[in-house]
């Protein structure tokens, strides 16, 4: 039975692979085969050990590419993890007499552990990430210098001969192992980039608050990328140190980290193979700079650093995305690499969960919410109730606390007092991403979409909170569940886009859409999280008068699905079109509540907008 299922799944995977197979795949296979054959060609000008070291470096750079390119984390400390892996492995082999494979694996695990210890920094702004990874690179190097008993001092640690995968670990064996590692890393990262984790990381890079409001778990996703790249760096370091035969602290100074970053940027952080290409280019430059440095009578090592630094400044100044993205664009111009979108099959297993029955008819109940910033009370004693399928509007003059109210309900800011109950569950202490999972979604006023994602991808970010098999490891391995769920998610995302009437622009980058279309995409992304309550901040802001009816229709369609909406809205025409209940907020208090007509006639409202004086 299980064997039969496995066979079916393998058959499907094979069919998918065959459908996606094209000339680029053939080129890649040919390139790998050719590369694997290099040590056996006994070319006079090729030193296989140097080549193998370069490939190990390319493995680390490829993993760093995920961190820098996809997650947008400017790491200046990749070399620290290589060093941790290398010295762990070297100590185990040299002092404890371990075989190489488990020692290298222990090195990778040590690097992983280090990444988890320091990984909290990935939650911080990029400047902090850069500063702390830079400090980490120095910490590891200074530590190696300070404790010669561990690092072997200026002599380094001698690493004895070992077997690798049952063969004598010659440079050729190392080269083939490194190449296999490079291929596996690149395949895994390519899969992760295209899959749910890649999309979430990209979303977190482009607009962190928006991604968080859609339920993406910032800390967890970024820590995953950080830890994965550290693990790969540690593994490459643990294996390559045996090839070098000596673990010398001088080879693991912070320049190694910088060199890896240069390789990533030079080759192109946005492309999976960019960093490896960058390492290759740096290697060629190092070869060429040898004779040049001798001619100029400069110490080679330092010359290398200067060349790398100058080259990087040039690439940055040209504003380039790196070699590989540039080359791909050129080739695409020539008609190569036509990327074909696989057609979607939305037949499998996707079924939206039954909407929960809500006791007492209330889906959201907030009571006594209060928030003060310093001495300024933004919201005070705010209570409100929502029933399924209603569209309530929250209006009020600027600074009356409308957006703060939405933030309190969504959990983006913690309330000083009061409670929020969703259905029968108290969510007052839940984080924003937990609340999204429980059924409160929110759109933001200023940031509506992720500019470089297509409308479909943007909505898929919202969809990712409902995925069960969207983790990094499952995505990298493309397990049957993960692949089926991917197809189902795309179906759900397309449905959400259809609901807001934007099915046709699914493949258009959101930065090319109009303001109102972007606001609708934001709605679709929030809808894709399957909310019970949808908090909408300024749907009509910047939207032309002729498009209000289109927005109103969409809101009506959303209501008819049983979702409760709370709209913060300045545009009273839209309010009139969509809501049956209006709450007026002034100085943090609800001063009036009722239908649009009732509220418009109220004295309290006039006072809130116009002040105490009558006109």
């Amino acid at each position: 039975m299980a064997a039969g299922r496995t066979r079916t799944e393998l058959g499907r995977a094979l069919a998918d692979a065959r459908a996606a197979w094209g000339s680029p795949a053939w080129v890649a296979v040919a390139a790998i085969a050719l590369a694997a054959a290099v040590p056996f060609l006994s070319l006079p000008w090729v030193r296989v050990d140097a080549l193998a070291q370069t490939v190990y470096l390319a493995v680390t750079a490829t993993a760093l590419g995920l961190l820098v390119g996809t997650a947008g984390l400017p790491s200046l400390g990749a070399g620290a993890f290589v060093a941790v892996g290398a010295f762990t492995s070297a100590l185990l082999v040299a002092r404890e007499d371990w075989p190489l494979e488990p020692a290298a694996l222990a090195g990778a695990l040590a690097a992983l552990a280090a990444a988890l210890v320091f990984g909290g920094v990935v939650r911080l702004r990029p400047a902090f990430v850069a500063a702390s990874t830079w400090a980490l690179a120095w910490l590891v190097w200074l530590g190696l210098l300070a404790f010669p008993s561990i690092s072997g001092g200026s002599q380094g640690l001698i690493v004895p001969d070992r077997n690798l995968l049952g063969l004598d670990a010659t440079p050729t064996v190392h080269f083939e192992v490194a190449l296999a590692l490079l291929v596996l890393t690149a395949l895994g990262i390519a899969a992760v980039r295209r899959g749910a984790p890649g999309l979430e990381l990209t979303a977190l890079r482009q607009a962190p608050p928006l991604a968080v409001s859609l339920g993406v778990r910032l800390g967890r996703r970024r820590l995953g990328a950080f830890a994965a790249s550290a693990f790969v760096a540690g593994l490459a370091g643990g294996l390559s140190v045996q090839l070098a035969a000596v673990a010398d602290p001088a080879s693991y100074d912070p320049f190694l980290s910088f060199k890896l970053l240069v390789a990533v940027l030079l080759g192109g952080a946005a492309a999976t193979l960019g960093p490896a290409a960058g390492v290759a280019v740096l290697g060629l430059i190092a070869l060429a700079s040898g004779p040049l440095a001798r001619a100029l009578q400069l110490p080679l090592e330092r010359f290398d650093a200067a060349v790398a630094a100058i080259l990087l400044v040039f690439v940055l100044a040209l504003g380039g995305g790196g070699i590989v993205p540039w080359a791909t664009r050129r080739l695409a111009h020539l008609g190569w690499f036509q990327r074909v979108r696989p057609s979607l099959q939305v037949t499998d297993c996707y079924k939206e969960e039954e909407r929960r029955e809500v006791p007492g008819g209330l889906v959201l109940h907030a009571q006594g919410l209060r928030k003060a910033y310093g001495g300024v009370v933004a919201v005070d004693a705010l209570s409100l109730e929502l029933v399924p399928g209603e569209a309530a509007a929250l209006v009020g003059p600027n600074g009356s606390g409308k957006t703060t109210a939405l933030r309190l309900l969504s959990g983006a800011v913690a309330a000083d007092a009061g409670q929020v109950v969703l259905g029968d569950r108290d969510v007052t202490t839940a984080t924003p991403s937990e609340r999204v999972r429980l059924g409160i979604a929110r759109t933001l006023q200023t940031v509506t979409t992720f500019p470089e994602l297509t409308a479909l991808e943007d909505v898929l970010v919202g969809r990712s909170v409902r995925r069960r098999y969207g983790g990094g490891i499952r995505t990298a391995l493309a397990t049957p569940n993960a692949r089926r769920e991917t197809a189902a998610s795309e179906g759900a995302a397309l449905e959400a886009l259809a609901l807001v009437g934007l099915r046709d622009v699914a493949d258009v980058e959101t930065q090319a859409l109009t303001t109102s279309e972007r606001r609708l995409v934001a709605l679709a992304a929030a809808l894709a999280t399957e909310p019970d309550v949808l908090l909408v901040d300024e749907l009509a802001a910047g939207v032309g008068a002729d498009e209000l009816e289109r927005l109103a229709e969409v809101v009506a369609r959303i209501r008819s699905g049983g979702i409760a909406l709370l709209l913060v809205e300045h545009n009273l025409r839209l309010v009139r079109l969509v809501s049956d209940r209006v709450l007026v907020l002034a100085a943090g208090h609800v001063v009036a509540e009722g239908s649009v007509e009732e509220v418009a006639g109220s004295d309290a409202v006039r006072q809130a907008y116009l002040g105490a004086q009558t006109l």
């Binding site: 320091f118 909290g120 400047a127 400090a135 940027l265």
Partner: protein
Amino acid sequence: MTIALQVLVSGLAAGGVYGLFAAGYSLMYRLTGIVNFAFGDLVGLGIFATLLVLAGTTPVTQSGAHEPRFVGALTVGLIVCVAAGIGTYVGLVQPYLSRGSTIGWVAGTAAVAFAIRAVIGATFQRSSYVFPDPLPFHRVGNAGFIKVAGAQVEARAFFVIGLALALALGSVWLLERSRFGRALRAVSDDAEGARVVGVPVDLVVALAFGLAGALAMIAAIAAAPGEAVNANTGTLLGLKGLIAALAVRFGPPLWAFAAGLVLGVVEAAIANVHLGSWQLGPSYREVLPLLFVLVLIAVWPSRDALEERE
């Protein structure tokens, strides 16, 4: 007790220098939101430019230190440091800030750091150099050491502490009272707003990048004759300053300065203090504070630094 006093004085002297670096990092962060990874090396460049004018690339001795030449050399060094700082901002920070590219300024300033190290390393090829001492501290007390409450303390340490404090307080006064200082505070509050009301933002920030380097360089040179200098000197001072600034999450420059003082004392204590037979020793001096601050910000980030903040 005597050891405690020695630790305190030598720690404060080292910490005063760290503190000026830290205040520089913090000022630059608050003005632009960037971390200048070349900061330490830019100061190193100034120090070595001074050395070059003073004595070429020979290992320097006391000779030439007292002449007016020293003042000239120091001026050249300061000009190089300020100019390189301004150049870094104009060439490698500002363009990426306006483009919104984080990786641009991170990689750009790191590139400057390594390029300067490469240039210093290629020009000054010995492993270390002695910085000449313009002030005759060796004539004070017992060959430069004076006895305070039973402890032998280096006379220079008091000079360095005093100078660092004067520089720090002087720049606070500058920030609070001068027109330039007001402009800087306006930019750090709201750069767009400052631009709108007519503050020449790029000029003011570029000057701040240069002057931060000059302050740190004066303190570093005052302390330099105490130890051998090499291409790592500037880098490591910069690293200590960065750690101190990180510990206060790039808070107000005066806090960063205070964190630098604390770091100096902690380092000295780690290297020297015995508790019975138990002692950490100098190996831990540089590593432990670095480790502590990194773990601190990893497990206990300030809310302002969190990326998800709207």
